[in-house]
Structure formats: C-alpha cells, structure tokens
C-alpha cells in the first residue's frame, strides 16, 4: 500500500488520505483500488482495472473456433464451463445446429458443479480476509469433492474444455449418478456446519450485517448482476428469465435476499450452493438417453449472434460476428465481474476502512475475469 496525504484541506477543512490498495493482491485481487479517506471513513473509491488485461478479445479473432475454447476458459478458470457455454451457444446459433438433449443436461451438470466450486472458492477467500482461517480451509477441502467429480466427468480438474459445438466431449461415466447424489448430500450437511461456525457466528455477523449497503434501486440503476444483485432483493437470473440448455425442464428457485448488505450477498451465494446441489441431483436422475455429440463444422457462418448465460458471478454474454471463415470476425465477451465494477464505489463509500475487505469481497469481483 502506498499513501498520499493531500496538501490542500478539503471543503470541511480536514485533510484526506489517499491509499492505493493493490494491485499486487494486498486484499484487492489483481487490481488497484484507489481509496480516499477522511479519518477512518472512505469518502471516495475508484477501481483502476486493467492490471491483468491480456487482450483476449483480439486473440479470439486470430484462432479458429475450437482453438478458442481453452482461451475462453482462461479469464475465470474456476468458473470455466459457464464462460465456455456462453461462447459455444453463440457459435451454435450461427451454425444453426442444436446439441442433443443429453448434451444439454450434461452441460447444465458441469455448469452447476462449476457454480458450486466457484462459490466455495469465494467463501474461502472471504473467510480468510475476515480473519477466519477455518473458513479458508474447509471450503477448499470440500471443493475437492466436486472438483474430483468434474475430473471424473471431463478428465480435467478445472479447465475442462468440455463443451464443444454440437454437444459435449464425453458421456456420463459409470457410477457418476450415485457419486453425485452422495457428494451433494454430504456438501449440504457441511453447509449446516458452515452456518454454525461462520454465518451464525456473532463475530462474523457483527462485521457483515449492515456493512456495504446497496439499495435495490441503486443495484438496478448501476446494472449489477449475479448474487450481488440478488442480495439486494432483485429476482433476476438468466437461467429463469431467459432459460437455456436444460434449465426450462429443471425445477429450482432463484435465491434472493432483501437486505442488500454484505451478509445478504454472502447468504445469496450460500443459498445458491444449496440450489445447485438440488439441481445436480435432479439432472443425474432426469438425464435422457441418446447421443451426446452431433457433428459440427469448424466454421463460423456469416452473420451475428448473441448469447447469455448465468455464470457464477452473474450474467456472462457473448456477441459474435462471423464472416464465413473458421475464425470469429469479432467476439465481444462481457463477464459478470465486468458488470459489477460499477457497484464497487457505492458499496465502499461511507464505510470504515476496516470494513473494506468485507464489503469488497462480498461482491466477489474477479479482476482477471473483468479485465479479460
């Protein structure tokens, strides 16, 4: 952290202190957060993104649609399949093909497993920045159960490259159904223990309740997405509002909380883990038989397409222009974290500096995903 004391007194006659949090991950992730304080109160906060910008949108134009898959996954490797799904849906829309029903279910299965692992990863970081080391260890340990399931399904632990145009690369392996049911039930039991040790712990609730308030109107006005929006009481989820893949046939709730503070945003994510566990069990029981992959050409026909999915951090959308070659002419790729950048300042301003980690990490802003 570097700090600058302003030489000129502010309007109220007091001097302010400007602090750079980050970009070398001193609690901000890989980005810089410029915070101006009056005493202990944050009076201005401005995110300074771009530290991990890698120009992926240009890279997508230089590779064919299959070679793009591993690169599409890189911005958020813990939530890889959701980003990949958005891209593949845009490609399929242009090619005019649709994946078989079994593939749609398998895509949803991997997406939900990714949502759980992403939320558990967030929970461990959130825990450690609040000084709760047990909450750092437990979610990462339990995440292993789901990561292991992903490995059984796709052959890779995190960057799966599983969803391809025309379907998915592998079928459901033997024994996966029983294993998925057992592990999700175990995870739900563990979530009750998380509640006891962390979410109902007075030390945590005192630090999170009423901290980093974001009203419903402000969240809508600034275009927040994902659990950060649902924590403010807005019932918006792409899986429900614009259903894709197998979601129209699945039964699940959109988890919202009304308070709009750090606690509400955290609990919206925990509720989502529970819903995802139920969804995984539904998918493995309902999955139809049939082929899991259809032949698809390695070509992007001339035209434009737009697709959006609900990734772990909010709505992720892809706008694709094809010119008839095997590479995209242009691929615009917007992720949930990029949209949530607008709510960083209103969440932090007015709070204490000591509350900054709570409010900041409750947004689950992922700089790599936002900078792309």
């Amino acid at each position: 952290m570097t700090s600058v004391v302003s030489s000129e007194p502010s309007e109220s006659g007091s001097q302010t202190l400007t602090i750079s949090v980050g970009p070398q991950h001193s609690g901000s992730g890989h980005m810089r957060l410029i915070i101006e304080m009056d005493g202990d109160i944050i009076i201005r906060a401005s995110p300074d993104p771009g530290y991990v910008h890698r120009g992926t949108e240009k890279i997508y134009e230089l590779r064919n649609i299959i070679k793009n898959i591993p690169v599409i996954e890189r911005p958020a490797i813990i939530d890889a399949s959701n980003l990949n799904h958005a891209y593949i849906r845009a490609v399929e829309e242009l090619q005019g093909i649709e994946a078989p029903p079994r593939a749609q279910y398998l895509r949803c299965l991997l997406n939900e497993m990714n949502r759980i692992t992403s939320h558990l990863y967030w929970l461990s970081i959130f825990g450690v920045f609040l000084g709760h080391t047990t909450m750092f260890m437990w979610p990462l340990g339990d995440r292993e159960l789901i990561v292991d399931l992903q490995e059984k399904l796709t052959g890779a632990r995190i960057t799966h490259s599983y969803i391809v145009p025309g379907g998915v690369r592998r079928d459901l392996p033997q024994g996966m159904k029983e294993e998925a049911i057992k592990r999700t039930q175990y995870l739900e039991k563990r979530l009750e223990e998380y509640d006891k040790i962390f979410f109902e712990n007075p030390i945590f609730t005192a630090r999170a309740k009423g901290v980093g308030k974001l009203s419903r109107d402000e969240a809508v006005k600034l275009g927040a997405v994902g659990p950060a929006l649902r924590g403010s009481g807005v019932d918006y989820d792409v899986r429900k509002d614009e259903p894709y893949a197998a979601y129209p046939e699945l039964d699940f709730n959109v988890c919202t909380r009304q308070e709009g503070d750090s606690y509400a945003r955290s609990m919206a994510r925990i509720d989502e883990i529970r819903e995802s566990c139920k969804l995984i069990r539904q998918i493995v029981q309902k999955i139809p038989s049939g082929p899991f992959r259809r032949k698809a050409p390695i070509v992007v026909p001339r035209g434009e397409s737009y697709s959006r999915v609900e990734s772990a951090r909010g709505e992720c959308s892809v706008y694709l222009i094809g010119d008839g070659g095997d590479k995209p002419y242009r691929l615009r790729f917007i992720t949930g974290s990029y949209r949530n950048m607008a709510i960083i300042a209103p969440v932090l301003i007015g709070g204490h500096m000591a509350d900054m980690p709570t409010a900041w990490w409750s947004i689950d802003y992922w700089p790599v995903e936002a900078d792309r």
């Binding site: 898959i69 260890m137 340990g141 890779a156 392996p173 006891k196 040790i197």
Partner: protein, 159 residues
Amino acid sequence: MTVKGSIKAVADIWTAYYSGLRHLFHRSYTLRFPEQRLVVEKGYRGRHLLHLDRCTGCGICAWICPEKCITIVPRGERWYPQYFYGRCCFCHFCTDYCPEYALEETVEFDLAEYTRDRLVWSPERLARPPAGKNDKYVFSVETSRGASNIPRVGAKPEK
C-alpha cells in the same frame, strides 16, 4: 446489548468453537505428496501416449493444438508428432481429432523437469507407456471425512 442478547452471543460463539473443535479428531485433508497421492482414474487427461504403428504423420494434431506445442518431426521415412510440455494445456483436442486413434490420454501428470530441454518429448519417449509409480499409499476423495485414504486394490492402507 441486552442480557438475552449477550447469552445468545455467548451460546453462538460456543457453538462455533464446538463445531470447529470436533474436527480435531477427523483426518486431515492434506496429503504428503509424493508419498501419498490421490487416485487418478482412467480418462484423466494427463500426458499423451503415442502409438507409433498407427500414426500416419498427417499433422492434424499439430493443426488443432491451441498452444502450438506439437511439431511434426521426421524419423526415417515417416513423420511423428513431438510435444513440448512447457506449452501444453492438456485440452487433448489432439487426441479427439486424431483420425487414426494414434494418441491416447494417460494418467501420468507429474511432468516437471529441471531443464527446458527435458520438457520436449520426442515420439520415442511419447510411445513409452507410463511407468508405474511406486505408490506407497493411494488416497481417494471420500465424502465421510473429506479426503481420506481408500486403498486401491493392491496398495496398503496407511496405518
């Protein structure tokens, strides 16, 4: 804070302590790699196995490789792929796209080397089947205790 509130806070903090302390008697999540390692099942996308007899040297693997880690090198009259594992992202699109099924995924994943040259795998080296590691203790992820030791057939359980 009211008296009732204080009592509830003390009770909640005690519950938090208790639920953490109970886990003192559980097995640890962490494994002592490389003596202990997780079971890696068939289908895991580790390093490649090349079947020299099936490979025609067509170069589709090198064309589809997103990281450009495959070079097609001559061996007498024939051509074979050579991998540079410093770049490989283990997507295994090469295995998927091989028309002759000459490539296969193996469970070998610990490919770290001391020099950069050793990361280049020649066709002959790729054709060698993965050497069986002398795994003393093999573990599997288990729901009852997080990661715990389920001995694989033939492996001794840890005392």
